[in-house]
Amino acid sequence: MSTPTSNTNPLLRAWYDKETRSIIVQIIAAALILAFFSFIINNAVVNLSNIGKDINFSFLWDDASYDINQHLIEYSSTSSHFRAMIVGLINTLLVAVAGIVLATILGFLLGVMRLSSNWLTQKIAYVYIEYMRNVPVLLHILLLHGLIITSLPRPKGSYNFGDTFFLNNRGFQMPSPEFQSLFWVVSGSVVGGLAFAWWFSRHAQKVQDTTGKAYPVALINIAAIVLLPLVVYFILGSPIEWDVPALKGFNFKGGMVIRPEFIALWLALSLYTAAFIGEIVRAGIVAIDHGQTEAAQALGISNSRVLNLVVIPQALRVIIPPLTSQYLNLAKNSSLALAIGYMDVVATIGGISLNQTGREMECMLIVMGIYLAISLIISSGMNWYNNRMQLVER
């Protein structure tokens, strides 16, 4: 190996200098990257002009002229593509949020079951987790959808729960609320209850920090959030009318329905992700040094409080980062809705709208942009929570 100083050739000398070399390498890399992008963008421009297309988002305001069977906001076939996209986005967010909630609950349950001292529970959780993790989520979705469609009865033979809830292969029929004029007072009392709970838990924490006196915070807060609105609701004479579904001919009229596609997608995503969360939770709890539990027990703290005050807060620090990526995966996997016809954002703007208008470029840009935004929001939210939970070091 020759040393830099023994070289008299100035070009070689420049190459052996670390600073110069890094600049040269970067210039080459930048040139290659720029060349690549200008090549594909140029190709796209040429190809698009060859077939007489341009990049134009004004199609978003044209009539969509297709129906969406699940819409939480006003939508009809005369609405615009933009509105169809919003409906799809709401459906995506609905299934993602519902999935995250159920997956978290089930996942924590599975994690605790995996660590249970009961041999049978432990093995059941193990078999469940291994089955769920090692089979593709798309297969779970299709399997559940198929099960719901083929094994649930037709509307005529619905499973009937007290003549108000019905389960059949068209979905889960339930009463829909019709809010009367005084209902805003009830909503107001819910907000009031939440505000009180927020203030009270901070106040109780302060009192406990200064005097050591502990209030039954959870009980009082539940009373404020649940009981107060209930009392207000009944004092005002029940300002909600329920529109109860009823069998008319071959199908149900009235009420609202949770469609089988939603149920299949929601359950499949949650059951699948719960298996991963279960393993994460188990790893998090195992990572806590046994001395922590023993020290807490030596202080005479009861077993449930050891779990709540010592083990879980520390385990959460280990759990949250991988949990975040599971949430992201769940949100992205919700795009598999397409396979069973749940009208999410991919199926609306990236599916039917794309096919009707032929604007692949614009539609895919929108879909990708939406998913990037969802990913960013979830990860920044979880980062914020993670920073709050981190150990504060001096």
């Binding site: 390498v25 089979v135 989520v137 299709l142 399997l143 598999l336 990913s375």
Partner: protein, 367 residues
């Protein structure tokens, strides 16, 4: 009772206390150690009792294995006749029947090449590894034909064979690409670093099916006018890129876990960047990342099912298409469970191999 005496050290071992051995003790300790535990056990047993016998009845005892239409199947049991009849479709897709020996041969050679890579006690491993290096070309040649073999269009590929093609290609190419991306992300050179960061974060932020859509419908816009190439090839490239972004993050974790002293020591010995990475950094970083790497492989393998949304027929796609067959209506559960068994075996196998590898490479530094 007679009193026996023993010289020190000659006393025979006493049997363990009666209440710490045997089935009863095990049951008591593991299932009925406390009141709550007993209740949980009883509830679990009851739930298993509700679920298992009827499932076993449905799947095995009442199942029908032979038949040509749905009507041949006994009601109340699984209709496995369908799977028996279509088995070749599930395995080979629409690959021409008289050429299927080529798929079989390619699979056999894959097993040989795979054994060489995965099992280090195989005889003549050096030669075997050389064979494994050229296997991708041999496999591609056997499957697509040309050079003396009858060419087969990739449109006819399907079934388990397609899953294996996507899985193996993705696994083989995403690891090196992921290593490069991870090193690029750790690089001191800002342009390279931010390019890698941008690429990784973009790929990780969007779902795979949007990328597959791009591959199937839009990629021709970005190529010089008039060029087209095979759909399967485009899908393979997209799946590889997708997996490599996740791989890069896993390997970055391994790189970050190494103490900085390792690189400094390598540099002080006079190794250049390439040597330091090859001999010092990567062997350690990759070893730490094995569980993550295998998890990414498993994820890639499972994600290969998503190709059904752009019309390729992997086992799941064939299953979904055949569920709609009018002679065999209403069989989705049987078909999907069959495909699930296949995926379970392959993915569970990979996970087990990862555990074995972790234990083998564990040099005792693990805390």
């Amino acid at each position: 009772m007679t009193k026996e005496t023993y010289a020190p050290g000659t006393h025979p071992s006493l049997p363990p206390p009666k209440n710490t051995v045997g089935v009863i003790y095990w049951l008591k300790e593991n299932l009925f150690s406390s009141a709550t535990n007993s209740i949980v056990t009883l509830v679990s047993i009851y739930l298993l009792y509700l679920a298992l016998p009827s499932a076993i009845n449905w799947l095995f005892i009442d199942a029908t294995y032979v038949g040509t239409t749905r009507k041949d199947c006994a009601p109340g049991g699984a209709c496995l006749a369908f799977i028996v009849e279509r088995f070749n479709l599930f395995v080979y897709g629409f690959y021409p029947a008289e050429l299927r020996w080529r798929v079989n041969l390619a699979t056999l050679l894959l097993v040989v090449a795979g054994a060489a890579v995965l099992w280090d006690k195989i005889p003549a491993r050096k030669q075997m590894l050389k064979f494994a290096m050229v296997y991708p070309f041999i496999g591609a040649w056997l499957l697509t034909g040309g050079f003396g073999l009858e060419p087969v269009s990739t449109h006819l590929f399907g079934g388990l064979m397609l899953t294996l093609i996507i899985g193996v290609t993705g696994i083989v190419f995403s690891l090196p690409l992921g290593i490069l991306l991870a090193l690029g992300r750790q690089s001191d050179l800002p342009i390279i670093k931010y390019f890698c960061v941008g690429f990784i974060e973009f790929i990780r932020g969007v779902p795979l099916i949007t990328l597959l859509f791009v591959a199937s419908t839009m990629l021709s816009y970005f190529l010089p006018p008039g060029t087209t190439f095979d759909l399967l090839m485009r899908v393979l490239i997209m799946v590889t890129l997708f997996a490599s972004a996740y791989m890069a993050e896993v390997i970055r974790g391994g790189l970050q876990a190494l103490p900085k002293g390792q690189l400094e020591a390598a540099e002080s010995l006079g190794l250049n960047y390439g040597q330091a990475m090859r001999f010092i950094i990567l062997p350690q970083a990759l070893k730490i990342s094995i569980p993550g790497i295998v998890n990414t492989f498993i994820g890639l393998y499972k994600d290969s099912t998503l190709v059904i949304v752009i019309g390729l027929l992997d086992p799941l796609g064939i299953g979904r298409a055949s569920v709609a067959d009018s002679a065999w209506l209403g069989l989705s559960t049987e078909v999907y469970l069959f495909v699930a068994v296949f995926f379970f075996i392959s993915c569970f196998g990979m996970a087990r191999y990862s555990l074995y590898l972790e234990n083998k490479l564990n040099t005792g530094h693990k805390r």
